[in-house]
Symmetry: C2
C-alpha cells in the first residue's frame, strides 16, 4: 500500500529555507522506506514577498494551503520588516485560521546534549500550549500614538470552549504517558478571570481522567522549577503566551532551540496541522550553512506522527538521537547534519 | 544627628512574620550604629484578618500606611483564601495605590551560593519591572461564568506616561552602573500595540542617555539568555507580567528565592515605598523556622538605600555576603540566620 500526502512547504525567512531543505531530505528518505509519498507545494511567503508585493498571506494562498494534508514551516520574520507584520500577518494568521489549538512542544534532554544545568536529571516532558486564544488574539489597540497621552491595550481572550478542548487534549496525552501527570501553569492569583477559567476547567475535565495526577503552578514558579527540577514535569498545559515563554526556556535547558521541535495541531483534523522548529529565522547566521537543522528534522517527525505514522516518526527520533550521541563538538554545516541524519535513517532497519 | 523614620510593617501570611522579624532585627542593629530610629507600626493584614473580618485592606488602614516613610512587607497569600483575593486586594492594591511604579529586583550571584547553572559566569543585573500597569491592572472580566459559553478577558493597559517614567528610571540606573547597558524585554512582535509603545519609548528616552547601550529581547528569548548567558544582562526594563516571570527565573539562577530582595519604589516620593522578598508566603514551611530570612534582610537593605543611607545598606549586603560565604550546607533556623547576619553587622566597623 502507498499513501500520498499533499504537503505545503513554507520555508520562510532567514535560516528557514536551509533547515527546511534538510527536514525535507530526511522526510523523503523515511517516506521512501515506508511507501509514503509527499507531494510538495512550496509557498513563497515571508519578508521577500512582503517587500516585493506588500502581501503577508493573501486569502487565496491561505485557501490553497488549507487544501493540503499538512504544512512544514521553516521560520518567519526579518529585521527589515516592522516587528509584528510577518509574525501576526503570516505565522499567527496560519495558526489562527487553521485552528491550531494545540501547540505541541516536546522537551527531552537527549543523551550527550550539552545543557546549561549542572544537574539536569531526566528531562522528558511536553508542553501543550494553547494556540488560538489568550493574549495572542490580536485584540488590542492604541490611541494618541506617539504623543505623551498614548494608551495601548492588549486583550487576552479566553473561552470555555477554547480552554476545554486544549485541556482535554492535554489530559489525553498525559494519560498516554507512563507518569500520567499534568501541570497547569497560569497566573490565577493576578489574572483572576482567565486564570480561574483555566483552573475550573482543569478541575472539571480532570474528573474524567481520574488516573492523571494534577497540579498547578504560577508561571513565575514554573520557571524556577524548569531551572531547578525540570524532571518534575510530565505534561504542562498552559495558555498561548505562557507557553511561548516556557517552551523557549525548556528548549534552553535541553540543548537549545536548535533541537526544539513543535507542532501546531488541529486535533479535529478540520484543517491541516503545521510543523515548525521553535527557533526563529536567525537572520544573523542566515545563508551561512551554520544553522542546526535538527529542530526542523524533528518537526518533520512530529508531522509523520500526526499523520498516523508513529513508527516512521520514531525512525527520525532514533536517527537524531544517534547523531547527537556521536557529536564531538566539531562544527558541521547545516547540510552535513541533515545528510548525517538522513544516512542514519536510511541505514536503520525499517520497522516492519 | 539622628533621623527618625516611621515604618509600617506588614508581616503578612505564612513565613512572612518569621522572616520579617529577622529583617527588623538586622535593621535595628544597623540603625543603632548609624543614629537612625525606626518607629514601627505593625499592620495585621492578610489571611487571618480576611477570615475574621472579610477585609483585605480597609481604606482607613491604607491611609494610615500612606502616612509612613516606608513599608516593610513579609509575604501575602494563603491556600485557605481564594486565589487572588489577598494578592489583588492587599499586595497589588498597595503597589497600585501607592504608585510603586518601579519594582526593583537586583539579581546577583554571591560567591559561594549554589546555582543550578553549570557555568553561571558573573551574574549581576537588576530588573526594573513596571509596577502599576500592564496585565496587572485588574481590568478584566468574565461572562457566563461556569457555563460552556464562558468568556474571560484580561486587559493589559499601557500608557506613554507610565512607560516613560519607568524607562527613564531604568536608564538612570543603567547610567550609574559600570557597564551602562539597558535591555528592553517585551514581546513586540505579537503584542504589537503595547510592545511598540515600549520600544518607541526606549528609543526616545535613550536619546537623552547616549552613553547607555540599548538592546531588545523578546521575553521568550530573554529566558534563554537567563539560562545560558545571564552575565550578558546589566539593567533589564520590562512590563509588570514579564518582570514577574523573569525575576523568579533570575532568583532561581542566583541561589533561589530565599535570597531575592525587591523594592516597590515610588521614585517621586509622593508615597512610601515598600520593600519585600520576592518569595511568597510558603505555607508548607510556615511556623517551622525553616524559612531563609536572607531575602527579607536584603529587602531591608534596599529600604535603607531608598531612604538615602547607602553606606548602611552596604553594611547589610556585606554582612549577608560574608554569612553566605561561611555557609557550609548545615541547616540553620530562620532565627539563627538572622542572628548570624545581625552579629556580622554589629561586628563590622561602621563606615564613617
Ligand atoms: C515568532 C513568534 C510569533 C512565535 C510565537 O510567539 O509564538 C515564536 O516565538 C514561537 O514560539 O513560535
Ligand atoms: C504574589 C504575586 C501577586 C506577586 C506578583 O505577581 O507580583 C509575586 O509573584 C511577586 O513577584 O511579587
Amino acid at each position: 500500500m502507498t499513501s500520498t500526502y499533499s504537503l505545503a512547504v513554507v520555508a520562510g525567512d532567514g535560516i528557514g529555507p536551509e533547515v527546511t531543505d534538510q527536514a525535507l531530505k530526511v522526510l523523503d528518505v523515511v517516506a521512501e522506506g515506508a511507501g509514503l509519498t509527499f507531494d510538495r507545494t512550496a509557498y513563497d511567503l515571508g519578508a521577500r514577498r512582503w517587500h516585493a508585493t506588500g502581501e503577508t498571506l493573501p486569502d487565496t494562498v491561505l485557501e490553497e494551503i488549507r487544501g493540503h494534508d499538512a504544512i512544514l514551516l521553516g521560520a518567519v520574520g526579518d529585521p527589515s520588516v516592522p516587528s509584528g507584520v510577518l509574525e501576526r500577518g503570516l505565522l499567527l494568521r496560519l495558526r489562527f485560521e487553521l485552528d491550531h489549538y494545540v501547540n505541541l512542544r516536546p522537551s527531552k534532554l537527549f543523551p550527550g546534549v550539552p545543557t546549561p544545568l549542572a544537574d539536569p536529571g531526566e528531562i522528558d516532558f511536553v508542553v501543550v500550549r494553547e494556540g488560538t486564544e489568550g493574549p495572542y488574539v490580536g485584540n488590542g489597540g492604541a490611541i494618541r500614538v506617539g504623543t505623551p497621552h498614548e494608551v495601548a491595550t492588549e486583550v487576552s481572550l479566553n473561552t470555555a470552549f477554547g480552554v476545554e478542548r486544549v485541556v482535554r487534549d492535554a489530559f489525553a496525552r498525559a494519560q498516554a504517558r507512563p507518569r500520567r501527570k499534568l501541570t497547569l501553569v497560569h497566573k490565577n492569583n493576578v489574572l483572576v478571570h482567565a486564570g480561574h477559567l483555566w483552573s475550573r476547567t482543569v478541575e472539571a475535565v480532570g474528573a474524567e481522567f481520574p488516573d492523571v495526577t494534577v497540579d498547578y503552578l504560577h508561571v513565575d514558579a514554573a520557571t524556577i522549577f524548569l531551572a531547578t527540577d525540570p524532571a518534575r514535569f510530565d505534561v504542562i498545559v498552559t495558555d498561548n503566551l505562557f507557553g511561548d515563554i516556557l517552551t523557549d526556556l525548556a528548549a534552553a535547558i535541553t540543548g537549545g532551540i536548535g533541537l526544539a521541535a513543535s507542532g501546531n495541531v488541529n486535533p479535529d483534523r478540520t484543517s491541516p496541522s503545521m510543523f515548525e522548529p521553535v527557533h526563529g529565522s536567525a537572520p544573523d547566521i542566515a545563508g551561512q550553512s551554520k544553522a542546526d537543522p535538527t529542530a526542523a528534522i524533528l518537526s518533520a517527525g512530529l508531522l509523520l506522527e500526526h499523520l498516523g505514522h508513529a513508527a516512521e516518526a520514531q525512525r527520525i527520533t532514533a536517527a537524531v538521537e544517534a547523531d547527537i550521541a556521536a557529536r564531538d563538538g566539531q562544527p558541521r554545516s547545516t547540510q552535513e547534519v541533515g545528510e548525517a541524519i538522513a544516512e542514519r535513517v536510511a541505514a536503520e532497519v525499517p520497522v516492519a
